[in-house]
Amino acid sequence: MAAAVELEGVNVTFGDFVAVKEANLTIEPGEFFSFLGPSGCGKTTLLRTISGFIEPTRGQVRIGGADMKGIGPNKRPTALIFQNLALFPMMTVAENIGYGLRVRGVPRHERDEKVKNLLIQVALAEHGHKKVSELSGGQKQRVAIARALAVEPSVLLLDEPLSALDLKLRQHMRSELRAIQKRVGITFIYITHDQGEALTMSDRIAVMNAGVIEQVGDGRAVYAEPRTPFVASFVGENNQIRGRITARDGAMATLETPLGTLAGRNPVALDVGQEALLFVRPEVMQLRANGTTAGFEGETLDVAYEGSVTHVTLRVRTGQKVMASLGASALAALPTPGETLRIGFRPEDALLLARPERH
């Protein structure tokens, strides 16, 4: 079975501006695939390139194994859900959903039947005759999904469709989208800047920055095994400490930092003498380092008690702020601002990555 979507050396430039640079990617059929990145990172451009609104400046887009060069968005087996949904306000809910079928010349009774089924699928059976403006945000969302599914695309593209919803609805729609994807079994390509969305819904995630796909992997891989400093700091909270590698020991390495000698895992095989960044997640920080943990001291700036976990912000010797999320069991009493704490971490919980040149 051919891959759902393949990108091969895709470049998109607007004048001098490089929006997407050398994107190579294979998305499997039935996969829930997310592009995660800050705004302006090129993820929407990439989505529009897949849907056919933008032709790549260089490279090839293949959908279901077929080269899409010169094939317009109306001829591609993709359907796009827009950020603002772009429902047709002058049509009813049923007419909106049936639009793609009407365009294809599907006979009326067949169309009505299909629209009815879709309305049931997205739990809007009673709302077919309504105007779009009469619906709530979540209902509009479901109309947009049904309208896109009606044309039976092999790939559904979603451009941050949940960003306009309030938090509660957004969380509800996450699981609903995931359920719909499981039910219809087609490939979903999802664009978001919200790492929570990407992590909870996706089979795999591509993290993008400045037009470049930095890393592709499942949620755990991009969170726990980031391969670039951008991925490490963009996905989840992370503390980063600058230093220089002084020794290598198998999968581990030691580095000299302004906070003292620290150690961490060395997955990208940095050499002695190289400039490096040590990434330590707040949740692996431990209080009052004993012999097994490297550590440093800091002055408590802020304490945020959240029940099961307490977020402590420290200012260390270099003036840098370091975050530590400490479990309830680790704290006998809450630290007070101004108090000096000694914190540390196990070297196997920290990660060493090459320091990019411009920093």
Binding site: S51, G52, F53, G72, P73, N74, K75, T78, A79, L80, F82, Q83, N84, A86, L87, F88, P89, M90, Y99, G100, V103, R104, R147, A148, V151
Partner: protein, 336 residues
């Protein structure tokens, strides 16, 4: 005379009082809230606005029209007999339009009736031509042109209208006449041996009329299409719609109020145009507005002229309202 004086000053006063009462009622029932009109503008400016707008609406717009309507129902009399025993309300001016005589109803006044329907019919055609010309341009300007291109287009559209209407009409005449540039080029290239009588065939008239009110169509269309979310066009395309389907079922329904507004303006103005028909009309074509003009200034029959003008006005208004109704649009919508 004192009766009409009371009318002239009493009616505006009555209107003002009515609106004050309406405002007070809305305030009390909570329909309107926020600062009052005079609180917001101050007494002096508020009073000035009320009086100035009232004066403008009544004296400049309503009163002359009412005077025309009144005149159209009176017989033509020498000044000495006006207001005398013979000055009675009559339908003879309207009768003349239909039957060509103030007394007999034996024969239809085909000359004028034909001119009337020709005017309406051609105005409809010109409105449609105008729409066909302007829609692609307005769509391009509103949806795909860059800001720089848009500025150039707007300038190119507006500049020709600095030249006045009569001059433009004569320019068309010069261009299209038997010895004009177009005929010279056609004959020079050997396409025809004889000059083509564009003016006699009314090509000039239709061109001049179409051109005269182009802007009245462009701008409402542009405004309407501009407010369409580009994503909707893209969504339709993404769902597989060919371009004509997008225009027919997405863009046109959205732009309906703008289309109605533009078409109404162009139709009304074309049907009432005087300069272009006078200058560019062929010898065999009798447009209705020159007939109205002739009633006033050739026949010196102002009541009859008033009746003719009133017939044209009412017919146009009725026609527009019927068309709006057919397209399920309200007057309020087209002013958006």
């Amino acid at each position: 005379m004192s009766g009409s004086l009371a009318f002239v000053f009493g009616l505006p006063l009555a209107v003002v009082v009515f609106f004050f009462a309406l405002a007070a009622y809305e305030r009390r029932t909570g329909v309107a809230n926020g600062g009052g009109f005079f609180q917001r503008n101050g007494l002096a400016i508020g009073l000035y606005l009320v009086l100035a707008v009232g004066f403008w609406a009544f004296f400049i717009i309503l009163l002359p029209q009412l005077a025309m309507v009144d005149m159209s129902f009176r017989p033509k009399l020498p000044p000495s007999q006006m207001g005398g025993p013979k000055d009675l309300y009559t339908l003879e001016n309207y009768r003349y339009f239909l039957f060509g005589s103030t007394t007999s109803t034996a024969e239809w006044n085909w000359l004028h009736i034909k001119a009337f329907f020709l005017t309406i019919g051609v105005s409809i055609i010109i409105t449609l031509i105008n729409f066909a010309i302007c829609y692609p341009l307005a769509f391009h300007m509103a949806q795909s042109a860059t800001a720089a291109r848009l500025r150039v287009l707007l300038l190119l559209l507006i500049l020709p209208y600095w030249v006045n209407e009569i001059l433009r009409a004569f320019a068309f005449r010069v261009l299209l006449s038997s010895g004009g540039i177009i005929n010279q080029m056609l004959m020079g290239s050997g396409l025809t041996s004889e000059p083509i009588d564009f003016l006699g065939a009314d090509v000039g008239l239709y061109m001049g009329l179409s051109y005269a009110y182009l802007l009245m169509m462009i701008f409402p269309l542009y405004n309407a299409i501009e407010s369409l979310d580009k994503n909707q066009v893209e969504a339709a395309r993404d769902l597989g719609a060919p371009w004509w389907h997008i225009h027919a079922f997405i863009v046109l329904p959205h732009a309906k109020p703008g289309i109605a507004s533009g078409c109404t303006l162009v139709f009304m103005l074309t049907a009432g145009a005087l300069a272009a028909p006078l200058v560019l009309g062929g010898p065999r074509t009798l447009w209705f507005t020159p007939i109205v003009y002739d009633r006033f200034y050739q026949a010196f029959n102002w009541p009859q002229g008033a009746a003719y003008a009133f017939i044209l006005l009412v017919s146009c208004i009725i026609f527009v309202l019927v068309v709006l109704k057919a397209f399920r649009l309200s007057l309020g919508e087209i002013t958006r």
